[in-house]
Amino acid sequence: MPAELQPAPATAAGTASLSPPPGAARTHARVRAGRSGLGLGVATLYLSLIVLIPLAAVVVKAFSSGLGTLWSSIDNTLVLRALAITLGASLLVAAIGAVMGTLVAWVLVRDRFPGQRIVNALIDLPFALPTIVAGLTLIALYGPNSPVGIHLAYTRGAVIVALLFVTLPFVVRSVQPVLIELDREVEEAAASLGAANATTFRRVVLPALRPSVLSGAALAFARSVGEFGSLALIAGKVQIASIVIYADIESGSEQSAAALSAVLMLLSLVVLFLIRRFGGRVGR
């Protein structure tokens, strides 16, 4: 143990105890509270400068010409179409992701096969691979020069595949730990009481997994709604919200970009709130 960490000599004569003098704990707590207040201040300042003030600028811009203008820039066919397509694609991706993600998590936890650890590591590939590369891979595979003869690029199908790619880890990584911790005795009890596998899964396993499946799917949904990188190359004429926003920015119409952004942000906030309210954590 380093010298500085040696206990301070006991002050009261005859006390062999190492406990601090009475009152020290309280002073210590007060010092910590002050310091944590300072830390909170610095953290909030950093967050405000980088995140909050810029996002506020978007909201202010959206409302800058009054509610009427905001509404009229949202209420036009192009924007409403973009919102409908984006939400539809995101819901579909969340649903497929929930089913396939749970299946993959199940195989990774309950099955044993050679190369399993490599497969397990591969799940994180979409988090590590830049999204633009993910989009390019789909062009390479389904584009004009497709080696498999499937021309999916620039269609809604390609958008769905790209979103499934980038959101793959969310459900798998949210279900996996829950499945590992799951008490298998309950399943055995169900089986010994005569329940078939399907019944055991539906009545015992699924209820235990439901929160993690839902929060993983919600994260996948939130990510899909805002996704840009993997769609930038392959969306073609499919009007995805983030791509419409980018086109608006490029053509200098910041007002309409901000209006659509405000709607998307509201949506993200709702999803964020739901995830926090019903368990699960954002991220991993």
Partner: protein, 271 residues
């Protein structure tokens, strides 16, 4: 639940087939397209001045953004796990914002604050500091999108280990600085490392937020992902080998990241 051999095998087949079709096949095709005209051709595309400067810019941005978010992340995690201020809950909720806001909106937001006619735009421009359509804006955009990773990795670790050891150190006369370096940091190091890897991966790969605030000029404000995106390098939907070469470069980096991630993730879980 005892699943029959047949069911096990078919579940395994479905899962592996899904992963192969979704992950391996597309990435494999990019590698193949990169090297179909030989390794020498691919290498010559990876070493063009534009490609090298893009690689360096990507690295430069990551080198600035990652330490900033690591320091903020550890500090914020300490506040969230150890602090008892009332504002904590709000900070906790707001930190996740960069994960749910579309990257393009991040770019727009920075444009509206630091761009010409933006809130602080003239303040910087009058002093000769260009933020938008220049590297500083790209750095801020990257810091924004990669902000929550370290916080979100470290906070649960801090909560789990509790503060008994830190209190013991304090009781034994250690200053809070000593306690942090000798007790807290060694405990959370794998969590921090894992968060840093995730932050780096995101910083190197970010495009949506960066593309809005970059002038997209090769040699000055083009990162590797932007080089892949650049429209004029794709003629009529036909992607050229140079684009595949840049993508392969990014893919190789991300596979390295993935390896480190797996390694750190395992260490972290073992702790």
């Amino acid at each position: 639940m005892v699943v029959s051999r047949r069911a096990t095998l078919s579940l395994r087949a479905v899962a592996l087939l899904y992963l192969a079709l979704l992950l391996l096949l597309p990435v494999g095709v990019v590698f193949w397209r990169t090297f179909e005209h030989g390794i020498a051709t691919a290498w010559s595309f990876m070493t063009t001045p534009a490609a090298i400067s893009a690689l360096w810019l990507s690295i430069l941005i990551a080198v600035i953004a990652v330490p900033l978010n690591t320091i903020f992340g550890v500090g914020a995690a300490l506040v969230l796990a150890r602090g008892n201020s009332r504002g904590k809950a709000i900070l906790d909720a707001l930190i996740d914002l960069p994960f749910v806001v579309s990257p393009v909106i991040v770019g727009l937001a920075l444009l509206l604050v630091y761009g010409q006619g933006g809130w602080f735009g003239s303040l910087f421009l009058n002093n000769g500091i260009r933020i938008i359509y220049a590297v500083p804006g790209m750095v801020i955009a990257t810091v924004f999108v990669s902000l929550p990773f370290v916080v979100r990795e470290v906070t649960p670790v801090l909560r789990e280990v509790g503060d008994e050891q830190e209190q013991a150190a304090a009781t034994l006369g250690a200053s809070s600085w000593q306690t942090f370096w000798r007790v807290t940091l060694p405990t959370i190091r794998w969590g921090v490392a894992y968060g840093v890897v995730l932050t780096t991966a995101r910083a190197l790969g970010e495009i949506g937020a960066v593309i809005v605030v970059s002038s997209n000029v090769a040699g000055s404000t083009l990162t590797l992902p932007l080089l892949v995106y650049q429209r004029d390098s794709q003629i009529g939907g036909q992607v050229t080998t140079s684009v595949y070469a840049a993508a392969t470069e990014l893919a190789v980096i991300s596979i390295a990241v993935l390896l480190v991630m797996t390694l750190f993730g395992r260490r972290k879980d073992r702790q």
